[in-house]
Symmetry: C2
Subunit: 339 residues, 2 copies
């Protein structure tokens, strides 16, 4: 270890692509141990099960229909800080410039949303009311973290299954509050802004209209939401779930809409799980950044990516994706899957 190196998490910007990455070093790891650094060891007991509340950091939010005490059993949903956070909540931004390079302290929050105390539950197998609770927790945590002016973006996602990056079997989602906007969201906003400048319309709203006209790539829908296989998907069976009404921020979603969203999300995930034989998957919420005026051109949505192929390394090295499945075939397969 070279002397004087910072072992706190750090955000660094690539000087060619202006792309930020988190460097979150793990103390004392040797090279052959690096593959396991994201693992959260639990020595035989699951920290997310009832009775093991003292093995996690204290709860930030919990739903306790029985009014049980904090950090004890009785909860139906629980949010805690990640025990091995990629970012730290203390301190200022501390922007540093060294010749070509820019970096800042790895300021942020990293939380875990445990959707159920049941070790064998999965998000898609929970009753609709519990999926609704999960989405409500996303909203409540976002509204709370928005008060911290250091944060530019709240990233909510789920890694389901080992090959999708999950390190604990017990169902959970993650939330990362960031002082920067992730690259793909930034690019989406720029693309949507260009489209708006040209047509004075939201590109996502136009996509929904065109998709509803042909129906070819529609998976399912209800009055308020729709799930599509996008026209140019990177991954086989990739799905986007969008509000049919225009809205740039997920956290503005009204209670009645969250209930409709829970229904469609559960149904879409169930169809995927049945059609594809319980694949690992990633689910990511794309919503507007904390700051900036994106209300007219941006449109929040979930992206759901089953993990069926292994070309990730090469494709990450080029940004270039080869997808072996037509989205029209994927959508038809999912649409016709009985759950």
């Amino acid at each position: 270890m070279p002397a004087g190196l910072n072992l706190m998490p750090e955000l660094r910007k690539d000087p060619i692509l202006n792309r930020w990455v988190i460097i979150s070093p793990d103390r004392g790891k040797r090279p052959h141990e690096f593959p396991t650094v994201t693992k959260m060891p639990h020595k035989g007991i699951c920290p997310f099960c009832h009775g093991n509340e003292n093995t996690t950091p204290p709860e930030i939010l919990a739903f306790r229909p029985d009014n049980s005490a904090a950090n004890s059993p009785g909860w139906t949903l629980r949010v805690v800080s990640n025990k091995f956070p990629a970012l730290r909540n203390e301190g200022g931004m501390n922007l540093v410039n060294d010749g070509l390079y820019e970096s800042m302290n790895g300021i942020g929050a990293h939380e875990v949303i445990i959707e159920s105390p049941d070790h064998l539950a999965e998000l898609n197998s929970l009753p609709v009311g519990k999926v609704e609770d999960t989405l409500l927790a996303f909203k409540l945590r976002t509204l709370d973290l928005k008060k911290d002016s250091r944060f530019q973006y709240i990233l909510i996602f789920k890694n389901h299954g080992e090959s999708a990056g999950a390190t604990l079997e017990h169902t959970h989602c993650q939330l990362i509050a960031l002082p920067i906007v992730p690259e793909l969201v930034r690019d989406e906003i720029a693309g949507a802004q260009s489209y708006f400048d040209l047509k004075q319309r939201c590109v996502f709203c136009d996509i929904i209209a065109q998709e509803k006209k042909t129906g070819l790539r529609v998976v399912n829908q209800n009055e308020r939401f729709i799930t599509l296989c996008p026209f140019a998907p990177r991954f086989p069976f990739e799905m986007w779930l969008l509000p049919q009404f225009h809205a740039d921020r997920f956290e503005d979603c009204a209670a009645e809409d969250i209930s409709m969203l829970a229904e469609l999300l559960k149904e879409s995930l169930m169809k995927m799980q049945v059609a594809l034989g319980q694949p690992a998957y990633n689910l990511v919420l794309h919503t507007a950044p904390m700051n900036g005026n994106n209300g007219r051109h941006y449109h929040w949505h979930f992206e759901i990516m089953p993990k069926l192929t292994k070309m990730a390394g090469f494709e990450q090295g080029t940004g270039f994706h080869i997808n072996p499945v037509l989205p029209e075939v994927a959508a038809e397969t999912l649409r016709n899957t009985r759950i």
Copy 2:
């Protein structure tokens, strides 16, 4: 399967991100078979070993020191068309516009470069002269394919190991000629152009100068080439190998430089393999597109990405990377690794 669907490979553009993907459908696959579509089955015999030349498409290029006949044993390096190509060589571009969406025929070439007839060889364990032959084959194939005006980009890469996307154990590289420029190369060129407009200098040349001054992130170098861990790496132990002289196109590399390049590439790969315990990895050549005037601001290079973490799905969904290893630590580890 909806009636009237095209089963030929197709390039499609995402209307928000202007990002092209290849949709290369596999006939007659059912959903549960999708995970294996990139596999090249060989029914017990390896199509890349001596004696099995008739199990591949006819050779496009071969090095045969014994002057043996084409498509027979005796070769030391062999280039053939991919038996299961992601793109097809026949036909025109046929741009199609459907409302918001743009697509074109999946025109291109997809070749396999077999670096050695030895089933157990690896690129890094080959003698330097054979690594040089491999790089020479990259150059010769690029110069040949450049004659086809339909192609905008020649993408050369290696998937080593199953978790990096390799589907055959026998060492090989791949080449894909494309009618579009891959997203990440396009973004690199745009970034390098902006930097040049501001400073009248190549950003890659400036990075090399700054890195040589501190030495902190240098892995190894010779008179003509240098291997670095980049300042803001997406992946643990990511390495870039660049010419120390300014050049935008790999295929312009002189014979003496290819020999120096082979030396450093072999050494860098060996260090990685020894330090990290033979990981799967991806190697990608980033070079200037066929067309366009990028001579002053772009700088070709190899990117080498060992496959040590599994967060690919989520990170591909956000463009946002969490890297648990400081590049200074990675570089020091690799630099001090004896091979």
